[in-house]
Subunit: 266 residues, 3 copies
Amino acid sequence: MSEHLNNPLCQLTIKNKIAYVALNRPQKLNALNMSMFYAIKKVIRRIKKDRSLRVVILHANGDDFCSGLDIKSVMQRPVNAFKLLWKWWPGNANLAQIVSVGWRQLKVPVVVCVHGRCWGGGLQIALGADFIYCTADASFSIMESRWGLIPDMGGTVSLREKVKLDNAMALAMTADEFSAQQALEFGIVSKICGDPVKEASFFAEQLKQKSPDALASIKKLYHKAWHKNDGSILAAETWLQWKIFLGNNRKIAVKKQLGKTDEDYR
Amino acid sequence: MSEHLNNPLCQLTIKNKIAYVALNRPQKLNALNMSMFYAIKKVIRRIKKDRSLRVVILHANGDDFCSGLDIKSVMQRPVNAFKLLWKWWPGNANLAQIVSVGWRQLKVPVVVCVHGRCWGGGLQIALGADFIYCTADASFSIMESRWGLIPDMGGTVSLREKVKLDNAMALAMTADEFSAQQALEFGIVSKICGDPVKEASFFAEQLKQKSPDALASIKKLYHKAWHKNDGSILAAETWLQWKIFLGNNRKIAVKKQLGKTDEDYR
Amino acid sequence: MSEHLNNPLCQLTIKNKIAYVALNRPQKLNALNMSMFYAIKKVIRRIKKDRSLRVVILHANGDDFCSGLDIKSVMQRPVNAFKLLWKWWPGNANLAQIVSVGWRQLKVPVVVCVHGRCWGGGLQIALGADFIYCTADASFSIMESRWGLIPDMGGTVSLREKVKLDNAMALAMTADEFSAQQALEFGIVSKICGDPVKEASFFAEQLKQKSPDALASIKKLYHKAWHKNDGSILAAETWLQWKIFLGNNRKIAVKKQLGKTDEDYR
């Protein structure tokens, strides 16, 4: 029922078709060194291949979600900047970006559970999830400008779908810390809760009642819809619906809804 | 002064240049059967041709706005799925979509007045309007995923202009019911009021004081602006303004504003 | 330390690398005549050339920010409409638009400080800034439809990044006046404060601690991100970050952050 992928820095536990992913470098506030980038990328790839998984819950061990880049560790070797930023094609995600947009590219819904510090690269990773749940004492920051940099880990892709431009610009330019309550008001956070992982698990169970085809298509449709023209949306709606009609999961969903089956989706 | 188009399922009443459209299948909670799809499409086409109309107010008879697709009725004949989804060109609206985006394509402002249940296809239709007014006891749901489907009736086109992505995704994935107050907070609803049709009529009278050329151009400009690049907006602003300058209604508007005429717009 | 550009209608004062721009036609509520359009355009061009400037604060002398177009003055000569609307290329900004989007095209952050009336063309100008601060008694209106026109001064470019479509459409169609509090709730205004210019100066000092390369790149990235597809954002993030890496200001920012220098950015 439960399976572990024991990378020490990013742990994957699978339980009842839910993938629990834990950032695990608590003694360093889960700051991102090179090994952690690779570990997260590997876990995302592992989840992508496993078609039995239905929801991902990303959280962190220790007192903080992630305090950002472990600059000392990463900058020990200048070649690391190249490793993080290198890409074969401009529109692709490089190593720094894949740990954020990688969650977005999964077909299943991803909930991230934030507590403590969620700064810089940590916030970029969280933004890659579909839903951000956090504790009331969580602390956020788009911190890159403190080091003369811009946020370049892909989080902007999602920020624009939730936050109005002037607020986003002020946060990125000042690099100010902001609270869970402010994050909720800005639109970054979906929900503040006492125990985000518990709440996310509850939400995941609810989502598991629904056809994975429908969930994947909604995620795909909405990611497209928020940035494309009207015609593209009308086309995508119909195309995705046809594909759902041809699959089996729709029929199972109907039977489930009518209370006629306990069958699992495929 | 008042004119009726007596389709039994979708009634059109024209009064003082305002088109009142009523969904009328109250014994079935205004659920959508095939005849109703055709009736709504026909009314939209009728309104599009009538250049004397200035505002559309869409509402429903009975206890509910519309409880969604009448699945039993529609699925009696499998060919109906084809009739709803068929389109000649991917970016076109099919029958299922035209009952929503059809309102959007009208040159005049459209206000929808919701009360009671506004679920599934009902919500998709409402989303096609420019403004959603509702009673405090209205109930909403993006219900399609209960049947293993995605919302595919064009409502997503408008949802993206009002709701942040995580909220929209949660609503579509869970198919949860939500209240008028929640709909207001999510951004779906423009206003909660005791008597939406009365409020909409008041708003319509206010809009009728303005030049129909200006209203049509604002609707067109803003629909474009929310999804296009900066250059397209600058071009559209100037192009539409030139066309207004060449028309007569601008001059009438100036005279009206200065209290020098009671003349009607053309 | 302080320098003046003494155009009587649009005054530029430079102080500690901050450009203070004041609309100055107080006896006419700062209404826009042709000379004022040219004066604002000239100041924007002047600021664009001065690479030592770090932040712009736009405000107005007298009791109001700007009551809109001085229609009587502008319409004395019909050729003025041509001068305002003429452009060489559809996607370019004409004279009417450059006084709004011109602020947007500057590399430095622009804060506008609004008090009193901010109507029609005045609001369009304010929308061109990155941040709108206003007093609690400020009054706003998208006023163009009162004269049978559409808002065509480029403000729509920014409106779409902050306001949901139904609210924007209602404001533009009715031309209703709305309060500072409503403007905040609609998302138009970033902050209501007792003394906007003082608050903006404080904010500017905060921004001056950051690398101008980072601020310019954040402004550019976010303007692009809010309207482009995912791939364009991933490309822009990486491209802009590389350019920052090759500059000197990043190194100065790191030293500043570590408390190792008081050196100015270049």
